[in-house]
Symmetry: C2
Subunit: 316 residues, 2 copies
């Protein structure tokens, strides 16, 4: 049986390892690329590459001849983007254009999934569920970089007939996520407190937002199904379709501790929801076109995330 | 009298020298930057700089403290862009983001004019005059790069309150233009034939397009007036509002020669209108808001362009 080569960019991020395992178990030969020297995922082929190195990427595409490309690489933390905007635009815009150009030069026509974000939408003041046709007017660098990529991707689809499919992925989390993201930050702090490696004070930023959280293990299935059953040039919300208040997540995580934890709200602590009050997606399009629906409840996600941190801290 | 510092990026292009002289005569101290070692315009302050060098640009902005920034730099030839897309996206996207970031870091608030293109519009099949509200769906790299810049510029306006004003400049020409552009290409060929430096055969590509041509000397006045009287975050068509068939330009230029010139249509010769049949702009917005209207008829522009080439060839 010939396995279909599937290339994952940014294999060392949160989603990469889950996607690699998922695709391996669905008949793909997975090739991962990332900028680091080493790959964090075992059992796959790894190539170190900078996606902004246009010629290097062309060489990899010509060697690997991927049938599917899952483009996860890029700056995924809005705070990190804000911290170094020029370099982040470089990675998110030019790194993606480099992949489009390499794809254009291939003799065969692979399918690319390019991951976008809920932060592409206009968030302020909107209380309903966001549809793919809702207004795009992001209030941060990260969102506007993804909108620019989406515009350019659609150009490559219409002018060069590339098979690019796009997501607007809402928040997702799970074991392995960095503390740049709110659930993992809180789970890490509480696991540190429970392990008696920190004093019982949880430092939080904005806790008033209501966000749409999915489990990373559901997300990777959505990505595969968009590639298998989605359509060229289309954009798909990838989301739970449910609003979860950050306060609910806070409560769920703090109950992991048997002793009391005090919560210290710090106005200058920026988390990924600093300026968004609500971002809840409508997932009817992806369900209709691919059959995907989320299966893992947020409670299990938070349990697993907390347990992962606890084990990591106890082994360190 | 204190002159207002006005920075021009891409001072060595077609528009730069005309704009420098125009601004100097309207009370500005002109500072030009370009990537070349030398400046082609006398009597202004020149700084060699790569607009993609984000830190270098910040230093220049902090030193010069421009009150006005005229951003002309970038790949302006669609053919050149097609020839090296990755490098051209780099210059047009990242070079402009570098300027926005440098502008954001200034203590004062300058006005920036960022030059876009008629090629941002959807061209195929549309026979009316294009308004600023017309559909944007470019059929080439150059146009999509300008649309991406426009999207990102509007983000900097809304999020960081930068005073950026945008143009969609239609075709313009005049003495000094490179032969990458059709009028200058033809004028150069005919001047070569008349000077007996070439055989009497004019090589042309697509001659069926109907385009909107302005004189570069009118264009620079439009740019100054947008900065003086236009509005933050607004987009202005800069155009004559008239369609001129390329065949008319061909006839006007071939009559410069007293002896017969044969025209050789070469299907594979790509000029800047390879795939656009018609792009005619509506200039009522810029007239209404700034009072600008074009003054120089196309016949004078072509005369001056031809005479310039003739003198250049005779002096070479």
């Amino acid at each position: 049986m010939a396995f279909k080569p599937a290339l994952i960019t940014g294999i060392n991020g949160l989603v990469g390892p889950y996607l690699a395992r998922h695709l391996s178990s669905h008949g793909r030969e997975v090739i991962g690329i990332d900028i680091h020297e080493k790959c964090m995922t075992e059992g796959i082929r790894y190539l170190q590459a900078d996606i902004c190195d246009s010629n290097g990427i062309k060489n990899i595409f010509n060697t690997v001849k991927p049938r599917e490309i899952y483009h996860l690489a890029g700056i995924s933390s809005p705070q990190e983007f804000n911290h170094k905007p020029y370099g982040s635009f470089q990675i998110n815009l030019m790194g993606t254009i480099s992949l489009f150009e390499a794809m254009k030069d291939l003799d065969h026509s692979p399918i690319m999934l390019a991951v976008g974000s809920a932060k592409q939408y206009q968030s302020s003041g909107y209380s309903g569920k966001l549809l793919e046709t809702s207004d795009l007017a992001p209030n941060g660098y990260y969102g506007v970089s993804k909108n620019a990529v989406e515009m350019i991707a659609k150009f490559y689809v219409s002018q060069y007939n590339l098979d690019i499919r796009l997501t607007r992925s809402f928040n997702h989390t799970g074991p392995g996520q960095s503390t740049q993201f709110v659930c993992s930050d809180w789970a890490h702090q509480i696991a540190s407190i429970v392990s008696q490696k920190a004093s019982p004070v949880l430092s939080v930023g904005n806790i008033n937002a209501v966000m749409d959280f999915s489990d990373v293990r559901d997300i990777v299935e959505a990505y595969r199904l968009i590639v298998e059953r989605g359509k060229k040039g289309e954009v798909y919300n990838v989301c739970s379709g449910k609003g979860t208040p950050l306060k609910y997540i806070l409560d769920s995580l703090t109950t992991k501790s048997l002793s009391a934890i005090s919560v210290s709200v710090q106005k200058d602590k920026v988390n990924d929801f600093a300026s968004n009050n609500q971002l809840i997606g409508d997932n009817s399009k992806i369900f209709r076109e691919t059959g995907w629906h989320p299966k893992i409840p947020i409670e299990k996600t938070l349990d697993d995330l907390y347990t992962w941190w606890l084990e990591k801290l106890n082994n360190s």
